[in-house]
């Protein structure tokens, strides 16, 4: 469902060419994590994810906004229209209490999984 949209000129400004789609199912966690730092609008989230992951993950904007709707409807995010710093209006998302809890769960779950996978890979080696 995720396709590479960040390409052409814009991607050219970044150094890393080993771009990857966001791993299926992790987009929610990445969004929650990003929003746990501060409330942000959609583009801000995408930019932040790419910056932090050093462009390893690319975010499809359509998937991002759909995921934001889903998370909001699950009660993990609140959304509202606000003025941004450069006096444009944007829909800003904020993590709720339930969202914070969900992030903890997903983080723990993720770590458990990755630990298991890396253990497996080590024994293989």
């Amino acid at each position: 469902m995720l396709t590479i949209i960040w390409s052409g000129d814009y991607a050219g400004t970044m150094e890393n060419n080993a771009n990857t789609d966001v791993i299926q199912g992790t987009l929610d966690m990445l969004i929650l994590k990003t929003l746990s730092l501060e409330p942000m609008h959609g583009f801000g989230i995408a930019r932040r994810i790419e910056q932090i992951t050093r462009n390893v993950f690319k975010v499809n904007p359509g998937s991002l906004l759909t995921a934001l709707q889903r998370l909001e409807r699950n009660g993990w995010l609140d959304a509202g229209w606000q003025e941004t710093e450069n006096s444009r209006r944007a829909k800003v998302y904020r993590l709720t209490h339930a969202g914070r809890k969900q992030l903890q769960n997903e983080t723990a779950d993720w770590q458990r999984r990755t630990a298991a996978v890396s253990r497996l890979l080590k024994t293989e080696a």
Binding site: Y10, T13, G62, R73, N86, R88
Partner: protein, 897 residues
């Protein structure tokens, strides 16, 4: 919580779609703006940044659509849009829409109607708690050819002591009694039952108390519970009713409680439930004149209960004495065994087979209707092929196109289902007011939530089924072909025509199956009408039943004198040609069976004699009924008053016992070896007293009044029916005069079962009439729909080949030959359909064997007649539609292209 939120937000978005859309559009726009601003901070110019953002993010429309497609509400929204589109399209072609809806509604209405009946009669549980635990305690005695043997007190008492698989068992009997009221005596219908009865059914009184063990004590006070209706009509619904007395034919009973208004038992609402009081110390082993009911332990099965019952049966023999004249050998020879069955089965009987047959029938009609609509849809979709190709070329997903097509047929189906429910309602009303149909549990038949659910599922399911045919054919179009307009300039794809041909063959085959089954039913009906029931001109025989209770008139001789006096009065009624008395009216009366011993036969070692049907009569019975006397003479009144030492037997009894009717005369017979011998003085024609579709039982006609008979010193029938032959039968004025005549002998005697003999006769044919009626309707519908399908198929083929026909005619082909081509193709299809239908009917007809009467399920005459008439009508339909080809004007046809 999550679910509620989904629902609430979804609905909010649906209701404020515009607002939600604007929100998304705004957000997408702001996303672009932020991306552009971001790029500008990296040093791009404004225009360049706009272009770059556009490149990176793609089309804003696609972006918006992707975001917009989130949530169940947008899926629903899409479907709603498609639905609006299909409704618009259906409105645009009212002819097609009307024809399809009518066709489907007929099929669906019939299916819902039959399902309502099945639901009300077979599927609904009886109106008691955990009704599936209720079991009727029947036995069977193959040794004396009795399938359903009643319950006996000896066995009831043994069961009470020993059984392990029931929560409780009860013994009961239903009947009528005369209540001596304040004004008139009246006949009430009641149940006499041991005290467990109501608690087994789970019925609690609305007032007072229910029966307890003490109520069964014959030395105690006689107790009764009355129905809600009786309480209101006779006691004004007063709470003072408790403790009051009801005079049951001279035997007072104390009212202890009032039954709930909803109480019913075996389709009847009894006026009262009496305590059945039997003195255990005087019970003999054999008295099978009661019925038993039990409630199984939770989790117990009927098989386990049967095994338990079989274990108990031999115990009764050791605990209760045999009646005089019976030996243990006779008891063993009868081979009594359990024959338990669900209580519901007692009520419903074997109507289930008929109903499922009818359900299968309407299912077939429905399939034919669907095939017709599928054909119409195919034509319609073919005309749309270009539109579909354009849509596909513009990028519509295949699923989306399929959904549009399917929605159209499902919409048709659901509208037709709603119309069908209306038809179903009308059908049920017509059935409920018709005399033809006597269904058990008829009051429970109606349109309830299950029927509506069934109709929705069936209409949606079937419409999806026929809707899939065009989807499968056309959703994978070769856009290039379709866009080029292949339909016009190229000749037809063979496979397309094949689907339609297949549908026509399918319809003709199914129609033939139904025609054959209706034909077999018609033959059955005719055969039944040709059976000589043993009486003649049943419409001229009036019957009326009375009871002379022994509390009122004790001495048997006074009873018979009174009955004879009544008969004399009846014979004097204007227009009455003859009248007589019987213990049971054919097809209407109680059924009594007992052993018949003959003086010229030996019964070694106490073996049992064959059981025959018993009827008690007075002189003039055969003359009144129009039953032929084969040899010998009728009874006379002096025979009766001289101890009734004579008997008359039916022809089959005579043949069974002595070979010929003549040989029976002068032979001596008796019920038991404690009775006096009676001489056979006459032999009469067989009487189909259980219904014309049943084998005539072997009957012995005894005098209504007799000495030393059935171990009684003096025996008389108090429960009798008068049969009165008069052209005035059935008229109200006659009934008034009959009542006056009877009341002049015994004032205010309650009269029951005042009907003509014809009513009993028709009722015994009711099941066949009902099946025949519905099968004939279904067969007619199937034929009509099949022919419409054939007609439509040929018309369409003609319209598609107009150009070719035009060329042929222009080149000089005779018109008749052109027409013949189409007729021939129609005939070929019908012939193939007929062949398949014949094979299908041969396989399916044996399933209805139990409904047929002296006609084989593979009756050649029916098969041939129905095939010939089908082929004939099919060729007519083919000819009518092929005539269009002859009307083609070659100039017009060629110019049209």
């Amino acid at each position: 919580m999550w679910f509620v939120r989904q629902l609430v937000r979804g609905f909010r978005n649906l209701l404020r779609r515009k607002h939600a859309d604007k929100d998304i559009a705004d957000e997408v726009e702001s996303y672009y703006a932020e991306a552009k601003a971001d790029l500008e901070t990296r040093g791009l110019g404004s225009e360049e940044a706009t272009r770059a953002a556009r490149m990176a993010l793609g089309s804003p429309t696609a972006f918006r659509e992707q975001v917009r497609s989130y949530g169940w509400e947008s899926a629903l929204d899409g479907i709603l849009q498609d639905l609006k589109y299909s409704l618009r399209r259906l409105r645009a072609t009212p002819g097609f829409t009307l024809v399809s809806i009518t066709t489907l509604a007929l099929g669906l209405g019939a299916a819902s109607g039959i399902f309502s009946i099945i639901n009300g009669v077979l599927l609904k549980p009886l109106p008691y708690a955990h009704a599936d635990q209720l079991v009727s305690l029947w036995m069977t005695a193959p040794g004396v050819k009795i399938t359903d043997l009643n319950m006996a007190p000896s066995i009831y008492f043994t069961m009470c002591d020993e059984q392990r698989s029931f929560q409780a068992v009860s013994m009961f009997t239903t009947g009528s009694a005369n209540v001596i009221g304040k004004v008139h005596p009246e006949e009430v219908h009641g149940i006499a039952a041991t005290h467990e009865f109501l608690s087994i059914l789970g019925i609690a009184p609305q007032l007072g108390r229910s029966f307890e063990a003490g109520d069964d004590n014959p030395d105690g006070e006689r107790t009764v519970m009355i129905s809600d209706g009786y309480w209101h009509s006779h006691f004004g619904g007063s709470r003072e009713v408790l403790g009051q007395r009801v005079n049951l034919a001279g035997d007072p009973a104390t009212v202890i409680g009032v039954l709930p208004a909803s109480f019913e038992f075996l389709d009847e609402k009894p006026d009262m439930v009496l305590a059945l009081r039997i003195k255990r110390s005087s019970v003999q082993l054999l008295n099978f004149s009661f019925r038993g009911v039990g409630r199984l332990n939770p989790g117990a099965t009927i098989e386990q209960a049967s095994a338990d019952f079989a274990r108990i049966l031999p115990m009764a023999v050791k605990r209760f004495p045999l009646p005089p004249g019976m030996t243990l050998r006779m008891y063993d020879d009868a081979r009594i065994a359990p024959n338990l069955r669900p209580l519901k089965k007692d009520l419903v009987g074997d109507i289930g087979k008929t109903l499922w047959l009818l359900m299968a029938t309407v299912g077939i009609v429905l399939l034919i209707a669907c095939a017709n609509v599928a054909n119409l849809l195919l034509v319609r979709t073919e005309a749309r092929q270009q539109e579909l190709a354009v849509r596909a070329a513009l990028g519509a997903a295949r699923m989306r196109i399929a959904r549009v097509l399917l929605l159209e047929s499902v919409t048709l189906g659901v509208i037709a289902g709603a119309v069908g429910l209306g038809l179903c309602w009308a059908l049920l009303r017509a059935l409920s007011t018709s005399d033809l149909v006597h269904l058990p549990r008829a009051a429970g038949i109606g349109i309830d939530a299950w029927v509506v659910f069934f109709t929705i599922i069936v209409s949606a399911g079937f419409s999806a089924l026929f809707g899939l045919i065009p989807v499968v054919r056309y959703v994978r179009p070769q856009p290039a072909n379709a866009l080029r307009g292949g339909g016009r300039s190229m000749s037809h794809g063979k496979d397309r025509q094949q689907v339609r041909n297949f549908l026509v063959v399918f319809q003709v085959a199914l129609a033939l199956v139904l025609l054959v089954t209706s034909g077999l039913m018609i033959r059955t009906f005719r055969n039944l009408h040709h059976v000589d029931p043993g009486f003649s001109n049943a419409g001229e025989v009036e019957t009326v039943r009375i009871i002379i209770p022994d509390q009122q008139v004790k001495e048997p001789e006074r009873v018979i004198r009174m009955e004879q006096a009544m008969l004399d009065k009846l014979q004097a009624v204007n227009g009455v040609t003859s009248a007589s008395i019987t213990s049971s009216v054919p097809m209407g009366g109680p059924e009594m069976n007992n052993t018949v011993f003959a003086a010229d036969k030996t019964y070694p070692g106490g073996t049992i004699a064959p059981v025959r049907r018993y009827k008690s009569i007075v002189p003039g019975y055969f003359a009144t009924m129009g039953q032929r006397m084969l040899t010998g003479r009728d009874l006379t009144w002096s025979d009766l008053y001289n101890g009734g030492m004579v008997a008359i037997v039916s022809e089959n009894t005579a043949r069974d016992m002595w070979g010929t009717p003549q040989a029976a005369l002068g032979k001596r017979i008796r019920p038991t070896d404690k009775d006096d011998w009676r001489e056979v003085v006459g032999v009469v024609a067989d009487e189909h007293t259980d219904g014309v579709d049943k084998v005539a039982p072997t009957v012995v006609y005894w005098p209504l009044y007799a000495k030393n008979f059935e171990t009684d010193a003096v025996s008389v029938q108090r429960y009798i029916s008068f049969v009165i032959r008069t052209p005035r039968a059935g008229s109200l004025s006659l009934r008034g005069e009959i009542q006056d005549a009877l009341w002049s002998v015994y004032a205010d005697l309650p009269l029951a079962q005042t009907d003509t003999l014809e009513m009993f006769y028709n009722r015994s044919l009711a099941r066949t009439s009902f099946t025949l009626l519905l099968l004939a309707i279904a067969g007619g519908m199937a034929l009509l729909l099949g022919l419409v399908g054939l007609y439509g198929m040929i018309s369409y083929a003609v319209s598609q080949r107009t150009r070719e026909i035009g060329i042929r005619i222009a080149l000089g082909a005779p018109i008749a030959q052109v027409t013949l081509t189409f007729v021939r193709s129609g005939l070929l299809l019908s012939a193939i359909g007929c062949g398949c239908g014949l094979a299908g009917a041969l396989i399916l007809a044996p399933l209805m064997k139990s409904l047929l009467f002296s006609v084989s399920p593979s009756d050649p005459l029916t098969y041939v007649a129905m095939s010939v008439s089908l082929i004939f009508t099919a060729s007519l339909a083919s000819y009518l539609s092929a005539r269009k080809a002859a009307k083609v004007d070659p100039v017009e046809a060629l110019r049209a292209e």
